[in-house]
Subunit: 114 residues, 2 copies
Amino acid sequence: MPVKLAVAVRTDLDMGRGKIAAQVAHAAVAATLAGLGTADFAAWLREGQPKVVLRVRTAGELDDLVRAQAGGLPVEVISDAGRTQVTPGTLTCCALGPAESQRIDAVTAGLALL
Amino acid sequence: MPVKLAVAVRTDLDMGRGKIAAQVAHAAVAATLAGLGTADFAAWLREGQPKVVLRVRTAGELDDLVRAQAGGLPVEVISDAGRTQVTPGTLTCCALGPAESQRIDAVTAGLALL
């Protein structure tokens, strides 16, 4: 079963590309620490850490993804410290997985690549 | 002692912001897996994973950073699988740390933020 990590980033915050990269990295590290020791995480590493970075347009769209946690999908939401570019506590992105690609796709269908 | 993770990204490859974010995330995850169990990594987590994303303009500038490994700084170089945007095996970015900020700065002084 292919596995992947998806990170969805808000595009309504006007973050620069370096800021976006740092937020996505934060989400990927959080997903890694949460996933250590699980079979999905081990499979994901074996497959070369496949990642997809997607866009959401609002905080509401991000919330919709976070609700996938209720269905058992690993979710890590990133809140920015707000030292640059955004207000402290702003939710900037979330990681879904690593998990079976099919389970990720079921939640992210319709979202465009960043 | 403040600690941080720096990721330096090549800007000569014309990668889009989503591609850059995925490469930086890859570097941060590699640095995490390499750092697990070290004092610097534990301090970095405690401090909220401070990260800085920097730019290098050429493969040569990236190589210069990778040489910091010889001085004992943790370095993880990312080679892209090349499924999108770049040729397979292209070195896209590298992570330095997590390590004491002073040690990172000694190597990255002069590099601009991405």
